[in-house]
Symmetry: none
Subunit: 421 residues, 2 copies
């Protein structure tokens, strides 16, 4: 299996001012051509740090290094000369490239006010320097990329702006030095994603231990588990030859956690619910989530086909006025109660003419908790116009934002379970 | 100047499935205590890769290494034993810590269905292993952190979930090994934040150039500008002795951009609006934002004092039925129009008995755009029961999520401007 290292350059990324988008993107796209990323390194615009990372990755026996950034016209952009130095080559001036970059820039520059043409020319001349030995990748913006090789590693040099890097990527993969390495029919690594709701990370750890006892070694699979948005996610990566090992593991997990396993094709609960809502008319009645659930439902493109909208009944007056919750019910049980949650769902069904409704009412904190209903207590109700009902009362851990965010996940799963009955 | 390296562990980050938030966050917070980050390295859940990065950073003469992630209960979480091996110490079992973690988990686990207590115990026992030599950082969730040292470097081991890492950070900084390195007066640097809305980054760059001409050198100030949530943020860091330079710069910026400068004390627009809404009764009427605006208003603790709730009128039927928008208005001008935006605000005022209402209606895409109303077109209206009105039609760039997210910011600023009249 080929191994790669990614070097992301740029002081703005290193200092945390700008979030890096290129490392994750490159990692996914290297995997598509059968290359496994071992390390991603971020360094500032400092030559010695960049050289150190190139040497480190070479020492780690990676086959390919991909760099992003540091190809601009200003003095702090020094990736190309630094990589050239590392690869033992020099930069030479390419007059045709200079002319091509100038042609590209002139129409833009003509529209700018107060263009400093001399500064522009100096910058372009810098960007028209290309490695004497290696391959130049045509610029997408004004910066060309390059591929250089040492006796140990192929180094692909790409620009920093994500849209330029992504548009240059196909030509890098098609270039001869890259192709020679990955082969024409690079066996892509397969990746599967399972999502489970209602079990914990220790549960899945136990299952994986038992699977190894039962099925024999799972060493051909790289399995990672993580808890995300209250769901356990199991991602498995393997070479095509290990597919049968994966299938046995899948059967094993399915037999132990069938009811918790809600997605085995990478679908999120949002997408599963969207599929189940086809042909329905959904409304929400939100108190503590105050719109988060509606916003999440509408995140899915095309959701207008089944999502009508709803009522954000943050104040009790709105629960009474818009959702027709009986004031006596509020007085008797409090706003955070299964009774009020159901009345809210009923109110949303009636007011919006929906055939299914979801409600949330809870104590998001930091204030408002009691012994009976501590911060994090949330009541949910899903109800259909035909009278089917699912309800839940839970205490969700976390701070105000986490409680509200997690409550939307709980609501979606309650909705899913009723729709899958 | 002290130098640091950051190691972010986790196959989910390395493969690009999860965007890393900890590297940038740690980089900013290390800078606050006078430590410059030289390298950020990302590795998967593989012991040899983690060891290689620790060695690389040590070879680069960093003074501090901070790791994030890999402290969970499952077998793929191996940061603590690996760092212990690197630091030449071992892990020992801490019975008190085990009991403390169990106490923390039990109330949650009691509410889960089908808890596998044996699996839970195995996981907790793993998390109760702490370095024999070094300092333990109390868990925020269930995973303790740790500080270990070699003869060359101090290694701070923190959990991966960003909220746990961020909450554990102060105790790491206060711990003796860290304090010994950075010194007692490391936190003396002042930092100010200005927020401006309605100007661009080049505008502020120009202002800073002119300020330097006018006021003399600003070298005593470390100024960074960035565009965040459609706002320009100017963060300035300086030693207390440079406070008068900062004050001159502040006056200069204020004189040029007074109307755009809405916060000079670090307050967000959310907090500014919350302050202005004191004593009011606010309602929302949301179409394209589908609850995002309500959710954002309710993000502020105490918002129930002025935020009543609102109507998510995603479907036109809901605009008509709940907000009493005239069907003829929809037919004549379309749902995305200033006329319908105003009718929605009127409807929210009336239905909820509010004294101020905000509405949004737009084309979030990817479909639904036209030559007249391209994707990103959003109409807003803020209206009071007394008849004051502010309205806006804009075309917001970005994808579906960006358009909806940015629309909430635009709505908050429109609300702020009307309230500040």
């Amino acid at each position: 299996m080929l191994r790669a290292g990614i070097v992301v350059t740029g002081t703005e990324v290193l200092t945390g001012r700008v979030a890096d988008a290129n490392g994750p993107w490159l990692s996914e796209h290297l995997r598509e051509v059968g290359v496994d990323v071992a390390h991603i390194c971020v360094c500032g615009d400092r030559k010695e740090d960049l050289l150190a990372q190139l040497q480190f990755l070479t020492d780690q026996d990676v086959d390919i290094i991909v760099t992003s950034g540091g190809l601009g016209p200003t003095a702090d952009d020094m990736t190309l000369p630094t990589v050239a130095e590392f690869a033992g080559t020099t930069l030479i001036f390419d007059a045709d490239l200079e002319a091509a970059i100038m042609d590209r820039l002139r129409p833009m520059a003509n529209r700018w006010e107060n263009v400093d043409w001399e500064a522009l020319r100096v910058g372009i001349a810098k960007q028209a320097l290309v490695p004497a030995q290696g391959q130049v990748l045509d610029p997408v913006g004004t910066a060309p990329g390059a591929i250089m090789s040492t006796d140990k590693v192929v180094i692909v040099v790409l620009p920093g702006p994500p849209h330029e890097l992504q548009r240059m990527w196909p030509s890098a993969v098609d270039a001869a030095p890259f192709r020679a390495l990955v082969g024409e029919d690079a066996a892509a690594i397969e990746q599967t994603t399972l999502r489970l709701y209602g079990i914990t990370e220790p549960d899945i750890a136990e299952t994986l231990r038992l699977a190894e006892d039962d099925l024999g070694s799972l060493a051909a699979l790289e399995i990672t588990t993580c808890l995300r948005r209250s769901e356990v996610e199991v991602v498995t990566r393997f070479e095509p030859s290990a597919r049968s090992v994966w299938e046995s593991l899948y059967e094993f997990i399915h037999s132990r956690h069938g009811s918790a396993l809600f997605s085995s094709d990478g679908w999120t609960v949002d997408e599963v619910v969207a599929g189940l809502l086809h042909g329905r008319r959904l409304a929400v009645a939100e108190s503590c989530t105050a719109g988060l659930l509606g916003a999440r439902l509408a995140d899915v493109p095309g959701s207008s086909a089944y999502f009508l909208g709803g009522i954000i009944s943050y104040a009790n007056d709105v629960k009474i006025g818009q959702l027709h919750v009986d004031p006596q019910l509020l007085a008797d049980h409090g706003a955070v109660s299964p009774q009020v949650a159901e009345a809210m769902a009923d109110g949303a069904l009636a007011a919006l003419g929906a055939d299914i409704a979801v409600s949330t009412t809870g104590v998001a904190g930091p204030g408002g908790g009691s012994a009976d209903k501590p911060v994090g207590t949330v009541c949910f109700c899903v109800k259909t116009a035909a009278g089917e009902r699912a309800e839940l009362r839970v205490v969700i851990p976390g701070n105000r934002n986490q409680i509200r965010e997690r409550a939307t996940t709980v609501a979606l799963h309650l909705l899913r379970r009723l729709l899958q009955r």
